[in-house]
């Protein structure tokens, strides 16, 4: 017995060492990974003269919280936050709803050319956005939508987006069809089945889809850059650019503004961490 016993102890010891060595390396890495954000936060609470001190001052003294309200009023950030929030709500609700409907149609309904069209939808996922930017811009310009919010949220209501359609289709496919049939026997319509049965059961897909899209809209810079002109329409990303342009080396306030813009995403991440870290599974991307 002792012959068998010996390697198992050594094995367990080796596992233990591997585990703690990994932990050590990962902890050091985590410090490196967090440093930029922590350093930005520290800078955002300093007086301008303290930001150049050498050696660097890690804990600000004194702590200047007023950098935040000052930075956010140097440019009308309240307005930028509202604009971004408006776009997030409009675009996300549109994408989630229409993608769910289209995904439902692909998952459950029978119609001619469905499979072909599904392939087409998947193909648009690989489609070059850079190639469609100019024509899309020209179309929106010809209907007078430049410097309005419409180009940034109306398309979300016209058929959803391929990634989200795929996500919903995959999720609906995993719900047993018996449920639909039972509901149909009870007199539910096609729309009723979708609205009362499948959608409530798909809460995880709805949340994942809303989070992915919402974060994307909040962070988007290219879309607003192309379509929005006047400052009162600016989103947070454009606001940051404006701010950086005019207060190029006021680092304390630049850090405050940058972190304030990132803050809603950080908050969302802390609340919905599990969805961020597992969300991709729904798409069936298992690798």
């Amino acid at each position: 017995m002792t012959v068998l016993h010996a390697p198992s102890v050594r094995h367990r010891q080796r596992k233990w060492v591997a585990r703690w060595a990994s932990f050590l390396v990962l902890s050091l890495g985590a410090v490196v990974w967090l440093t930029p954000l922590v350093w930005a936060f520290s800078t955002s609470l300093k007086r301008p003269i303290d930001m150049y001190s050498s050696p660097p001052q890690f804990i600000p003294d004194p702590i200047v919280w007023s950098n935040y309200p000052e930075a956010l009023t140097l440019q009308p950030f309240a307005r930028f936050f509202l604009n971004s929030a408006f776009l997030v709500v409009m675009s996300t609700s549109g994408t989630v709803l229409t993608s769910a409907i289209v995904g439902y149609s692909f998952a459950r309904l029978r119609w001619v050319g469905k499979n072909v069209l599904f392939v087409v939808v998947l193909a648009t996922m690989m489609l070059p956005t850079q190639v469609t930017i100019i024509p899309t811009f020209v179309i929106f310009r010809s209907i007078g939508w430049i410097d309005t919010f419409y180009p940034l949220w109306v398309p979300a209501w016209l058929g959803g987006s391929a990634f989200h359609i795929f996500l919903f289709r995959q999720f609906f496919m995993s719900i047993p069809r018996d449920l639909d049939e039972a509901a149909r026997i009870d007199g539910a319509s096609t729309i009723g089945i979708f609205w009362r049965i499948l959608l409530p059961l798909s809460r995880p897909a709805v949340i994942a889809s809303a989070i992915f899209h919402g974060v994307w809209v909040w962070n988007d810079y290219f879309g607003p850059l192309i379509y929005l002109r006047s400052h009162e329409h600016y989103t947070v990303a454009l606001g940051l650019q404006l701010f950086q342009g005019q207060h190029h080396s006021e680092w304390t306030k630049l850090m405050a503004a940058s972190l304030a813009v990132a803050f809603p995403i950080l908050l969302l991440f802390l609340i919905f961490q599990k969805w961020f870290l597992q969300g991709l599974r729904f798409t069936g991307v298992k690798g």
């Binding site: 648009t124 489609l127 190639v131 940058s258 972190l259 991440f269 690798g287």
Partner: protein
């Protein structure tokens, strides 16, 4: 409908000269000729390629390393995962400004850290040599999604296979190279292709960090395209650049797929 029309329209624009205000004028292959002799466009493709190759390969290698360590059942694994993931979802605009401060020549944190080990740091974003390196570092920092995909791939590797190899006397490194890597190769390929597609279209971080400078050393394709379309209003030439970029992405993706046949292992076959 919504995609077919812009595609045809965009392709048509390649053969025109159009400033967005007048009527498009047919110019035949002039835009393509111009692209072939446009040094600034060539520079943009070279810069973008350098960026993509370095950023994607570092992202995958470091991401794989972190994922393997995270998968060792370490303490606080959840928090660790969150820390490494977080940078990849924050707004690119914020991130670029925060890093511009880290990279600041005289008072930046990075150069101070370098000075501790006796290295005189460059003036990162104002240096023709190092500005691109700075942009690459940011891409590598944002490896959250890469890690997530690797972790779910690692969790699909049956533990028995690794244990059997261990019983047969295979060391940790051998198990990693002979079992983990081959079984993970489809995920590596997936990350590689996503990486190629994303990195070749880099835009926001460059705009906020360097604006393409100094002296075009970080002028990536999307930035040159944007300037042509929306600053100089050369819609025809910008469309030509867009198609060139698209074809370039397509070719590189296909090369990666072809190359992958020699190293990707699909369990089902």
């Amino acid at each position: 409908m919504f995609t077919a029309f812009p595609l045809v329209f965009s392709f048509g624009l390649v053969f025109t000269d159009w400033d967005l205000f007048g009527t498009p004028e047919f110019v035949g292959l002039e835009n393509i000729d111009r692209f072939i002799s446009d040094n600034r466009a060539h520079n943009a493709f070279i810069v973008t390629t350098k960026y993509a190759v370095c950023a994607v390969s570092l992202n995958i290698v470091i991401g794989l390393g972190i994922a393997v360590l995270l998968n060792q059942n370490v303490p606080l694994a959840g928090i660790m995962r969150a820390v490494y993931f977080l940078p990849s979802i924050l707004p690119a605009a914020s991130i670029a400004i925060i890093w511009r401060w880290i990279f600041s020549g005289d008072y930046g944190l990075l150069n101070w850290l370098l000075s501790l080990i006796g290295v005189m740091g460059p003036n990162w974003v104002h240096s023709r040599q190092y500005a691109l390196v700075a942009v690459i570092i940011i891409y590598v920092w944002q490896l959250g999604n890469t890690i997530l995909l690797f972790i779910s791939g690692l969790q699909n590797i049956p533990g028995e296979v690794l244990e059997a190899a261990e019983v047969d006397g295979a060391g940790a490194w051998k198990r990693f190279t002979r079992i983990t890597i081959p079984l993970l190769s489809p995920v590596i390929l997936f990350n590689l292709i996503i990486g190629i597609i994303n990195s070749l279209q880099v835009f926001t971080v460059v705009v906020f960090m360097t604006g393409g400078g100094p002296r075009n050393s970080t002028e990536v394709i999307m930035l040159y395209l944007y300037n042509n379309a929306f600053r100089s209003f050369r819609m025809g030439y910008a469309s030509t650049l867009a198609w060139a970029l698209f074809l370039y992405i397509l070719v590189l993706t296909m090369v990666a797929m072809r190359w992958s046949k020699s190293w990707v292992y699909y369990g089902g076959e």
